[in-house]
């Protein structure tokens, strides 16, 4: 479809291609929200459905039911700053889908741009999709524990700062998910993203593993923020900190300070 190394599609380009009808656009908001209006020609996959069972077989069935075959270009969007759609893009890539992209804006931003929306639900013709696991992009707890001391490995925690201060995987650095976006786009500019890494002293040649609270949404967005500037070796620790804790793996915290009391929440 479009340059497949870049995981993001520009909203203006998508708008031009909507009518071609060769792209499968997937809206990952809740069914009710989808019914009230979505990008023209988009189909609905509530994220909860994918999270309920994210085994490769289940993802395969979901793809097939959405009419996505191995060769169908797909574009995913949400209204949650790109975190939910990132998780879906990642899942499809995990089962080996090659041509799937994030829309670079949220649904709200799409509407603000004045682009077409519709309440019409397109008919879906079921497709066939293979499963070729792309294990390169996934990190398990076991893997993370094994490599986390390696010099070339950087672990990034994408939760909010206070959650990170309170507890995190030892050695992880914190880039809150809000840092990853700019006004009007789900991701930073490439220059901005490169600059952030440069300031933090993170080499683009490092193996970078991202994680967040529980299901890999916020860290999914970070995964694609890194991919958008061409970082070659990124992995998503998809089951994230919730699993890490339940496995009773080691945890670090910022001691001797009552930072929570600074929050006005």
């Amino acid at each position: 479809m479009i340059d497949s190394d870049i995981p993001v599609i520009n909203s203006k380009i998508l708008r031009e291609k909507i009518q071609e009808n060769s792209i499968r656009i997937v809206d990952v908001r809740r069914d009710q929200e989808y019914q009230q209006g979505h990008i023209t020609n988009a189909v609905n996959l509530p994220l909860a459905k994918l999270l309920a069972d994210d085994s490769p077989e289940s993802i395969q069935k979901i793809a097939q039911d959405l009419g996505i075959s191995d060769d169908t270009p797909a574009v995913i969007y949400d209204d949650t700053f790109g975190a939910l759609s990132s998780r879906v893009v990642w899942a499809l890539q995990y089962i080996g889908h090659k041509d799937v992209k994030l829309l670079d804006v949220t649904f709200s931003q799409w509407k603000e741009l004045g682009y077409e929306i519709s309440t019409e639900v397109p008919e879906i013709e079921t497709a066939t999709h293979s499963v070729k696991i792309n294990s390169e992009i996934m990190a398990t707890a076991e893997y993370l524990e094994k490599v986390k001391e390696n010099k070339n490995v950087v672990i990034i925690d994408n939760r909010e700062r206070l959650n990170y201060l309170e507890q995190h995987i030892p050695g992880a650095i914190n880039i809150p998910y809000r840092t990853l976006s700019t006004d009007g786009k789900i991701l930073r500019t490439k220059e901005g993203m490169k600059n952030l890494l440069k300031n933090r002293g993170i080499s683009e040649d490092a193996e970078i593993i991202t994680y967040c609270g529980s299901v890999g949404t916020l860290s999914g967005l970070a995964y694609y923020a890194l991919k958008s500037i061409g970082v070659p070796n990124v992995k998503l620790y998809v089951h994230s900190f919730k699993e890490w804790k339940s496995l009773e793996k080691p945890i670090d915290k910022q001691e001797n300070a009552n930072y929570w009391d600074l929050s006005a929440e």
Partner: protein, 600 residues
């Protein structure tokens, strides 16, 4: 109220002055790198970091607090929105309004500070010289320009001084920090507790009315506090800059550069004696005037701000929400301009979420006829030029965003420094304590009690004075206490502090364990209620008590001590483990205190 035809919402008011310099952000990023590589030593880096407004953070070198200067407290909607975004990206999702009209972002990763500086430059803001041995944020009363008791609006002068001093070579290496406060009147400005405090005056000279100031020098709060001295009867505005430069030059030349704990200008004034210092300033001023190679002048912009009431969102059907009368009574000041009000938005110990900041920006646009807001002196925000007819609607908006707390102008809005939430020097969690006190006061409806209205509660987490405890009616500073083998947070309570024309530092009265502070305050209020004169306020009554002028059952501080003694005796740890823990902590106090600082 009748719906009137009004002009549509005007375009955003733009800040008049751009305080930023973009290059500083890049330099900062480079300098952090050199520091991390060990190419800059710790002390040099620390000086540099502070000069650029990044303060150290408790028990770690990895984080900083970025203090954003807001000269004269003037803050514009796009600036609030930018800070909201930055707090989510690089801080904790909340920002903090300080007692010196700064806005602080805490727990920022040192490597991200330069990104914040870049973004601040987008909205004309800076953190430059917000910390370190510099001229700190120049303050101006949030009511300057609208106060009923003011002689003229000092704001243009405050901004001009801020502009002159920022990045000026004469104040890049002072012995210690240096503070200016401008005010509208004695009541609103805290002019006697800073290095230079300025009160507008008009004097008739040769039949001509001339603007000028009463200038107070050498005041300040800290481990040792002093009240400022009045330099002369009247200083005309033409001499404002020369006087300021003269004072700074003397301090720069003669201030103590060795003894870090005693090098604020007030110590110099105290050691030299006021008269000598005063003569020196007057002489120095003459030299400054006489030796200017080019004429140095303040850039005073006293163009009148455009006042245009935004399109009203108020209509006749607006019903009055619950709590409005209480809020209106305790948060709104009538302005000298008829029909307009200044609305104080109270924040718990100065904290505000990113979304609340965005709401405040929107509320300013919708309701303030001047189009910007002012940071207050008590960790609060003041939205001015709100029309009488719009108050109910504005209150409804504040309710929606959780900012409609009553009591901003009363004793209920306790001030608390950041304490152990982020500060390296802190011994106790004064920040949370201030929130607890405020919640209790509001629960008890104390904000509605006129007897308590002119009193204040201010709390610092250590003997230094970020919480300004010495000028509170009831003030506290944190420390450690010990009972048998166990430590507990123990605050020193002072009574009767004031910052108006009778400025006085609070009288140390007793040490109060943290978990007894609320009961002790309640006990003092109870004693006041039992013994007060009909038209007394708590502040007046405490003033008589600390001066030994009270003739009721309570004749002096000793009697207060006796009355609270049973409340402050430490229980056995087995009987009340909570007594030995600070707020916000579930472990025994001494385990969470920094090494060696308990002894201080």
């Amino acid at each position: 109220m009748a719906q009137q035809l009004r002009p549509s919402k005007p375009a955003d008011k733009q800040p008049k002055i751009d305080w930023s310099r973009r290059q500083e952000a890049e330099n900062f990023a480079e300098t952090v790198k050199l520091f991390r590589q060990g190419k800059i030593d710790h002390d040099s880096f620390r000086r540099y970091r502070l000069q650029h407004g990044a303060y150290g953070t408790r028990m770690t070198d990895d984080y900083a607090m970025v203090r954003i200067k807001v000269p004269a407290g003037q803050i514009y909607p796009p600036q609030l929105e930018k800070i909201a975004q930055l707090s989510e990206m690089y801080s904790i999702g909340s920002a903090h309004f300080s007692t010196r009209e700064n806005i602080q972002l805490h727990w920022v990763i040192l490597e991200d500070v330069s990104e914040i500086m870049q973004s601040l430059a987008d909205v004309g803001m800076t953190s430059r010289e917000a910390c370190g041995n510099t001229v700190r944020n120049v303050m101006c009363s949030p009511l300057s320009g609208v106060c009923k008791d003011e002689i003229f609006d000092a704001t243009p002068y405050a901004l001009a001084i801020a502009r002159f001093m920022l990045r000026n070579p004469i104040c890049q290496g002072l012995p210690r920090k240096f503070k200016f406060n401008f005010t509208c009147c004695e009541k609103h400005g805290m002019i006697r507790i800073v290095d230079v405090g300025l009160l507008p005056q008009i004097q008739e000279i040769d039949g001509e009315k001339r603007k000028g100031f009463k200038i107070f020098l050498g005041g300040g709060l800290g481990n040792r506090s002093f009240v400022g001295h009045q330099l002369e009867d009247f200083t005309p505005v033409e001499d404002l800059l020369y006087t300021s430069m003269a004072v700074i030059r003397i301090f720069d030349r003669m201030g103590d550069r060795k003894n870090l704990s005693r090098n604020r200008m007030r110590y110099l004034v105290n050691e030299m004696g006021w008269e000598k210092f005063q003569n020196l300033v007057l002489k120095e001023r003459a030299i400054v005037k006489a030796t200017q190679s080019v004429i140095v002048k303040l850039n005073i912009d006293d163009a009148i701000n455009e006042i245009q009431r935004p399109i009203s969102v108020t209509d006749e059907s607006t019903s009055i929400p619950d709590g409005y009368a209480r809020w209106q009574k305790t948060n709104v000041e009538k302005q000298s301009q008829s029909g307009f009000n200044s609305v104080f938005i109270g924040l718990e110990a100065g904290d505000i979420t990113a979304n609340q900041l965005r709401s405040v920006a929107e509320i300013i646009r919708d309701y303030s006829a001047e189009g910007f807001a002012r940071n207050g002196f008590s960790q609060n925000i003041v939205i001015r030029y709100v029309h009488d007819d719009d108050l109910v609607s504005l209150y409804s908006k504040l309710l929606e965003t959780g900012l409609a707390k009553s009591g901003s102008l009363t004793m209920a809005s306790a001030v608390g420094c950041s304490g152990t939430t982020s500060c390296n020097l802190a011994l106790t969690n004064s920040h949370r304590l201030a929130k607890e006190v405020q919640r209790k006061f509001l629960e008890l409806n104390f904000d509605e009690d006129d007897d308590l209205k002119d009193s204040t509660i201010k709390i610092s987490g250590c003997p230094n004075s970020c919480g300004q405890h010495q000028i509170a009616t009831i003030g506290f500073y944190g420390g450690g206490g010990r009972h048998e083998a166990n430590m507990f947070p123990n605050y020193t309570m002072s009574l009767g502090g004031k910052f108006d024309e009778d400025a006085m530092l609070g009288h140390h009265t007793a040490r109060v364990p943290v978990k007894r502070i609320i009961p002790v305050i309640l006990k003092i209020i109870e004693l006041f209620k039992e013994n007060k004169q009909p038209d007394d306020t708590l502040a007046k009554w405490i003033d008589r008590v600390v001066k030994g002028n009270e003739s009721s059952k309570i004749t002096g501080v000793e009697d207060i001590k006796k009355e609270i003694a049973p409340l402050i005796a430490p229980p056995k740890i087995e009987d009340e483990p909570d007594f030995y823990m600070d707020y916000g902590s579930d472990t025994n106090y001494h385990t969470v205190t920094g090494k060696g600082e308990c002894a201080a």
